[in-house]
Amino acid sequence: MSIHQRTKSLAARHSDLSDTFFQLKVLNGRALNEARFPVFSEMIKPAGFADGKIKPTRVEIFQLNAGKLCNQTCAHCHVDAGPDRKAENMSRENFERCLDILRQYDIPTVDITGGAPEMNPNFRWFVSECHKLGKHVIDRCNLTIIVSNPKYRDLPQFFAENQVEITSSLPHYSARRTDSQRGDGVFDDSIEALQLLNAVGYGREGSGLKLNLVYNPTGTFLPGNQAALEADFKQQLQRKFGIQFNNLYAITNMPISRFLDYLIEHGQYETYMQSLLDAFNPGAVAGVMCRNTISVSWDGYLYDCDFNQMLDLKVAGAGTHLSEFDLAALENRDIVLNQHCYGCTAGAGSSCGGQVVE
């Protein structure tokens, strides 16, 4: 079945928000922030970060955003990805640079995201090279790509051969909740893709092939308890479709890019920021993912996380491009913080691996 796109990319709409400068202006709107939202770096001071700065622990995850091209245009996408974003895709040269770095340094995990990274012509070659280097590869797969075109239907087999861990978005086990965020038809295609993954062993006990789902709220509310959601998803997906998976990661929507656009359009920006602030959990600060991750953009620049990447906030205190990669300097940098960071510290915290505290 084909997907009916939920929206258009901000870039295609020529929205002001496609300019990261404008997004940062909204997030740092002075009157609003001074009155109601304390600066994030101030907020973390009593949480054990007395100088208002966060430093990395160790770089364990090399997260690479292969590009903005995607077969979907989800309403909340923080990448502003879509089928129209053909220009922003990682070149072979930058992938080669990544491999050189991965060869040189002991960074155990390569986490590949996008867009739909599988649409990048270098994807399979890069994954196999990482596998040969003994790296643990995670692919952030939107699921529908697998059934979108016959040329992608053998992806599950390819993933299995390279022992790739699959982490896939499925905001709900109900079609309506899923399609309202991701586009009509996405749910049915996602279910078919999950069944194909299960068929080669993904998510099955004893197979060693990990299949994780990502839950994120399909609206302006915050995620509930991850373990409870996981139990519901497991029961319902098994009951309705015979689908199995390993872990469910509950992730908070970040107030940037298309979700920021959604918030502003629906007059919910302040309410949402307030709910993030009300749910601020000092105990979640130490677990934010930027402490063990380095994020690389399609054009080879380095960021603290995929969110900072989308706001074009490059790493500070170290070379900012793959060509100047210096692990020691990166591990000693100060992470660039801003008001969107409240998205990582609300409730049980939020990261690419879900909740950060129990």
């Binding site: 309506r176 409870a228 519901d232």
Partner: protein
Amino acid sequence: MSKKHYFDPEDLKKFGNIGAWQKPMADKFFAWYGEVFKEGALTEREKALIALAVAHTVQCPYCIDAYTSGCLEKGADEEQMMEAVHVAAAIRAGSSLVFSTQMMNHAGDLTM
């Protein structure tokens, strides 16, 4: 001056202030309330759905708003939420209709 209309959504945010006039009772109420909605033999999602159904029965706009959000947060979808409201509605309807047995009994006494 107080407002000229009832049920202002902003008032829901002031719920915590009820302690200003009777703190020990309010503290006990909120502590108990918190305990009630924790995961137990029922999941948090199931409890939120029950709360939503009861909110419709007592027709409290604050509770309806609060537990519409609560149900979504706990991972319920529209189908589950509407089914919960139907359960509440069915009990309301049934509890009226079941009294008709009394009407029928009494009418039986009165009529030939």
